[in-house]
Symmetry: C2
Subunit: 195 residues, 2 copies
């Protein structure tokens, strides 16, 4: 900030003394902003699906000889393993975003190894979030559309509010994954530029 | 190869003349090997699910007044959108692996921009493969286990061979995604080392 505007690789500065005293650069504030954005998005996504719950009274025919009975049925994220994976992944990504934010701020001396470790962990978060978004997205889509071939019925015509909340959480988590994606791209650009 | 054993960032060498004539390095052959591995794994995964088909004669009760009828039922990847996404993603990743292999081999002069573009595209493949693996994995697991809460029945007790082939394709595609993951990590390490 004071001396030069050189960029950092995951919060890491080069070996030269002039750069070592630099506490900020052209890309550094954007790196921190992206981590805050990733933290917020994954936090809201995890909470949104974590508190998602809807109870409906459904008319079920338990026996062919009995008339249909009204039974209260509840939809919860815990009932579907893909949604559990989604909530856990977003919670991990959120915790890591907070940790990496602290490490990035604390790494003003530009430890190369730490900078590299942060970038590799950012990449792990990309893989984790995209895979859990894929899993929750596939199950969510099945809930919306159903599939007559495997005889899996629609669920979202009954649990519309639950499904909409899943959709919003999915969108937020996707952008959270995108934030980590951009952090890796930025690290590669920053290193490439100074290389 | 001849002069130094400096590593490359996605097949890119530094500006100095000594390094420019280097056509290989400590990490370069491994980079090419990983691309070939990624190509092979995603190709086999896409083909394995693409040709996956199983027909079984299932006893179905079409009307309560009629006796159960034996109906031939076929399982195909095209019937489930998550599997379509999986096959298309692996086909894209396979084609890109072939292209990036050619570009990396052709980029012996070490064009920095091209090297960076290859690393960013490797990262796109990580996101694409992990998300499609998540989607196909979630649907595959639902086929194996079913879910009584949403009343989606097991399918794999009937279409066992089909499901096993899906599981193998998923495993291969996971390692394909891991190959791209390692390519991005290697690029970051190579640049960081020389930085």
């Amino acid at each position: 900030m004071e001396v030069e505007s050189k960029t950092s690789f995951g919060g890491m500065e080069s070996k030269s003394k002039e750069v070592k005293v630099v506490t900020g650069g052209k890309l550094r504030p954007f790196d921190l902003v992206l981590r805050v954005v990733a933290l917020a998005l994954t936090l809201v996504a995890a909470v949104l699906l974590g508190v998602d719950k809807q109870t409906k009274v459904v008319s079920l025919q338990l026996l062919p000889t009995l008339p249909p009975m009204d039974v209260p049925v509840t939809a919860k994220w815990r009932y579907l393993s893909a949604f559990v994976y989604f909530v856990v992944s977003n919670a991990i990504a959120c915790s890591y975003a907070a940790l990496s934010l602290l490490l990035s701020v604390g790494n003003s001396k530009g430890n190369k190894g730490l900078g590299l470790a942060i970038t590799v962990m950012d990449l792990v978060m990309v893989a984790l979030l995209f895979s859990s978004n894929g899993a929750a997205g596939a199950i969510g889509l099945m809930g919306y559309e159903g599939n007559s071939r495997v005889r899996w019925g629609k669920v979202c015509n009954v649990f519309g509010k639950f499904c909409n909340q899943v959709a919003v959480a999915l969108g937020l988590s996707f952008f959270g994954g995108l934030a980590f994606f951009l952090l890796v791209v930025m690290a590669a650009f920053a290193l490439n530029k100074r290389h």
